[in-house]
């Protein structure tokens, strides 16, 4: 009878019988309830990466400029002049799907803590958001909540939200993606590790009191969402950005103290994971007294205290006997702090409650003990079928004016101003290129340098060909940066997939990681941090595999940057790169023809690299007036954007050796639209010829209309109107009334 009860208990906590056996073996006995709960969260996919750990090893992580690769709270690169950039991206998909406002808000809070625990001041936030069908009221409810939550938290803590992307696709209908990237700056001597070492050193818990919120959040994030998920709202935490702001300032003072050994935030799985990870990194043990943990509610049991995901808490390990300066600094910022235990040298994680031992676990079994799961890799049977596309079946139009206006006003291609104007994107006075361009650019105070930031994900390409789709995500991110004049330096990624038990999803996972590895290697952009989010499904159907690539690039002189808007009448417009007869996986094909099939555009990595480096070279030589990445929606959309943002028209003549629709809306890779005045354009043409860069004159910046061959002729004011047609400011929409009626 007892065994039966026990069995039900571990099944409830998503452990397999094999895992349970392993636990018994490692402990040398059967675990008690608290220990089982601890293993359950630490061995959840969210904390242990048991399904993906072996795959992630493929990713390149090293380069001369990488100061810290994966393994700490965030990755770090050296950008010279004693400045280091810290970055990380993380998902908060499941919490945002059931409670969009708090889910997104605490997503921002969590990733910020990953940055300032490294000792860095957070200087930028970017969000990649993927929602379901825009016309569904449920989507509007989620979208409104997520944008509101990011705005609420990011604005309050004073970190600018400078970029990201927002995609609507049926694939994310029941399982939205909220991926948040944070970037920070730190001087080398102030970098701190999340480590606990040195026997008898004090373990101090700072910040908010521990409550019953978010219990089991990590485990919740490691199963599929279903119609009952909304009942799991208690597993979503509540954010307090004011407390976070105080933590940021206080921690940035603490990291300057020699006596501070390690700093760690309490994220997923709360005290359990932060404490066990810190001691695992330090090859040490810990002894914790739970009665010393300040509690928000009465009568919390050890299990609840250890697994609470109450936000805005940090752990700091301080040299014994030297706690005073740390405690008084925290007091200055009106932050509570409590010594809850000390470091030991016996590699055991011992938890006491009023002096009585309630758990005693070998540290290494929690951090790396979860048995790695290897699965069979098999291409889905249907894959070949979705790759079929016969262009002859796709009708070419005579008049593309309507099509262009339709596309410009589609949810994915329309102006995202309504979103980013809700975010403070200027605070900290570094924002040189604000949101709305290919990438955001921030100057680095006290130097001539600037950094460029972007995020890029394309679930549709990855659905059609996960390997190639992942490569394109990296290529496009790098191209975004190169168009602003920045040399791509490093990647942080967020890999969103369905359940690993689903063999199609697993195959996608393997292909994506292979694609990322090859292209990151090729572009010299090591993956220095990241996160994997599995179980993104709804009613058994996985989302499109969606690797989101966050990339940072470095600009040596902030004077040499380029924006996407045309600058002056009579400037010449050129295309770097070539257009091909391809429409597979394009926005045009799905939005206009309702087909999601074919193969993603061909990507030639070396051509891509050459074109990008050529573009950077021309920007550095100050020869370009504008540069704009040609991606989602193709040439016609990119040209429209350059026109709209400048208010200038363009007269363009495209070569017609390929289909008209492929010319206008095909998404061939490795293409950049640039403009320059006559004198500079001549030089650019010469350089292109010498360096064998495919280079095509397109036309001139001219008049008030965008004219392309005899296909398109639309006044820029009309383009602008279409681009702003969709109302993304949902407070003005009456969807809410309808949504709550149902």
């Amino acid at each position: 009878m007892e065994n039966f009860e026990q069995k039900r208990f571990w099944q409830k906590w998503n452990l397999t019988s094999n895992e349970y056996k392993c636990i018994c073996h490692m402990l040398g006995r059967e675990p008690n309830e608290l220990e089982l709960g601890i293993y359950s969260v630490m061995w959840s996919e969210h904390c242990s990466y048991k399904n993906t750990r072996s795959l992630l090893k493929m990713l390149p992580t090293k380069a001369d400029w990488v100061a810290q690769g994966p393994g700490e709270n965030a990755g770090v690169i050296d950008i010279g002049e004693k400045e280091l950039v810290v970055m990380k991206m993380e998902s908060h998909n499941h919490p945002s799907a059931v409670e969009p406002f708090q889910g997104a808000a605490t997503g921002v809070g969590g990733i910020l803590r990953d940055i300032f625990t490294m000792g860095a001041r957070p200087i930028a936030i970017l969000d990649s958001l993927f929602f379901g069908d825009f016309n569904e009221n449920k989507t509007k409810y989620l979208f409104n909540g997520v944008v509101g939550g990011i705005s609420f938290y990011g604005n309050c803590v004073g970190v600018p939200t400078v970029g990201g992307e927002t995609i609507f696709s049926k694939s994310y209908q029941g399982n939205i993606l909220v991926n948040v990237m944070c970037v920070g700056l730190v001087k080398r001597e102030h970098i701190v590790r999340a480590i606990a070492k040195g026997a008898s050193n004090s373990v101090i818990l700072i910040g908010a009191k521990t409550g019953r919120d978010g219990i089991g959040g990590a485990a919740f994030a490691s199963v599929e969402l279903n119609e009952k998920s909304e009942e799991d709202r208690p597993a979503v935490q509540i954010g307090d950005p004011f407390a976070e702001k105080l933590l940021i300032e206080a921690c940035l003072e603490l990291v300057q103290f020699e006596e501070v050994i390690g700093l760690q935030d309490c994220g997923a799985a709360g005290l359990t994971s932060s404490l066990s990870e810190m001691s695992a990194r330090g090859n040490s043990g810990l002894e914790i007294e739970l009665s010393k943990v300040p509690q928000r509610e009465v009568g919390m049991n050890p299990f609840e205290i250890m697994l609470s995901e109450s936000q805005e808490r940090m752990i700091v390990v301080v040299e014994k006997g030297k706690e005073e300066r740390v405690l008084s600094t925290l007091k200055k910022w009106d932050l509570d702090s409590f010594i809850i235990g000390y470091v030991t040298d016996n590699s055991r994680f011992v938890i006491k409650n009023n002096g009585e031992i309630v758990a005693d676990i070998p540290v290494e079994s929690l951090a790396d003990g979860a048995p790695v799961i290897k699965r069979e890799i098999k291409e889905p049977e249907l894959q070949k079928r979705i790759n079929q596309l016969n262009l002859d079946e796709i009708k070419e139009f005579n008049d593309y004016n309507t099509v262009l206006l339709q596309l410009l006003s589609s949810p994915n291609l329309s102006c995202k101003e309504d979103i980013y104007q809700q975010y403070d994107h200027m605070v900290q006075v570094n924002t040189v290129i604000p949101p709305g361009d290919d990438a955001a650019v921030l100057r680095v105070k006290g130097t001539k340098k600037a950094i460029a930031l972007t995020t890029e994900g394309n679930g549709r390409y990855c659905f059609l060909n996960p390997f190639q789709g992942a490569q394109i995500a990296v290529a496009e991110a790098a191209r975004n940066l190169s168009c602003k004049g920045a040399l791509p330096r490093a990647v942080t990624d967020c890999l969103n997939f369905g359940a690993p038990e689903n063999s199609d999803s697993y195959w996608q996972m393997v292909q994506v990681i292979k694609g990322l590895s090859e292209s990151c290697e090729f572009f010299d952009t090591p993956v220095i941090s990241g996160n994997v989010s599995l179980y993104n499904e709804n009613d058994g159907k996985p989302i499109d595999p969606t690797p989101v690539v966050g990339m940072v690039g470095v600009i040596n002189d902030c004077k040499h940057i380029c924006t996407l808007d045309f600058k002056a009448e009579n400037d010449l417009i050129f295309l770097l790169g070539e257009s091909h007869n391809e429409l597979g996986g394009s926005e045009y094909l799905e939005f206009i023809h309702h087909r999601k099939c074919g193969l993603p555009p061909i990507l030639n990595l070396s051509l891509e690299k050459n074109i990008q480096s050529f573009c950077r070279e021309m920007i550095e030589k100050d020869l370009l007036a504008s540069a704009h990445d040609c991606s989602l929606g193709g040439l016609a959309i990119a040209l429209s954007e350059s026109c709209i943002s400048s208010g200038l028209g363009a007269e363009v003549e495209l070569k017609t050796d390929i289909r008209s629709d492929c010319c206008l809306f095909g998404e061939s890779q490795s293409r950049i639209i640039v403009s320059a005045n006559a004198e500079k354009a001549k030089k650019v043409a010469e350089f292109a010829k010498n360096e064998k860069i495919p280079f095509q004159p397109l036309g001139y910046v001219k008049g008030n209309c965008l004219k392309i061959n005899d296909w398109i002729n639309i006044p820029v004011t009309q383009l602008k109107k279409a681009w702003h047609r969709i109302n993304l400011d949902l407070k003005k929409d009456n969807w809410m009334v309808d949504y709550f009626k149902n």
Partner: protein, 242 residues
Amino acid sequence: MKFGVVQFPGSNCDLDCYYALNDIMQVPVEWIWHKQENLDGFDCIFLPGGFTYGDYLRVGAIARYSPVMTAVIDFAEKGGLVIGICNGFQVLTEAGLLPGTLTRNECLHFICKQQTVRVENIDTPFTGMCKKKQVLQIPIAHGEGCYYADKETINGLEKNNQIILKYCDVNGNISKQANPNGSISNIAGISNKERNVFGLMPHPERCIEDCLGSDAGRLIFESILIYLEKKNILFNHKKTPS
């Protein structure tokens, strides 16, 4: 000449104000902690933007009770210059140093964008370097910037020329379309009757360098500097017997 930047818990434009004064304008500036009760030796106090105490309860309502505010009120009553930007403006209205209040934007959410404002009064320590009716591009970033006061107060503000900045379009026209948040009379910034306390929603500290898109905010900083320099010269003249 000495400037002070107040740090409340939750201020987040404090570093930007300090940077503007120290690094760009290169004038002496010191931090003022919210618990500080003595402001002797300062000539101009900045209340920066941000979310003091998380703006919980009501914007600026808790910060108003910080010990430093008693000192700021005293400082202002003695004629010291006080400028409150964004959340600082909200704190000033809560503290009663400026009339009226700032409520939720008409659109019900936060707005961050470049905005044009027209200078309505150049006879103040904060706008002396501007031209009459000059249009300045200064960014805004706030959720509660909708200025409200009763009719009598608004009439008083108008009569005394206390309205310093109004939201306008790029050509300087004051219209409903140019009003980003629903403020009465497009009010973006006001002063007290004595002209030594100035509150404004736009962020001049965000636009004093070309690389950030506009340097219109410099005019506000330069106005203060010139005013204080003149005042000090006068003050010194008075002290030295002729």
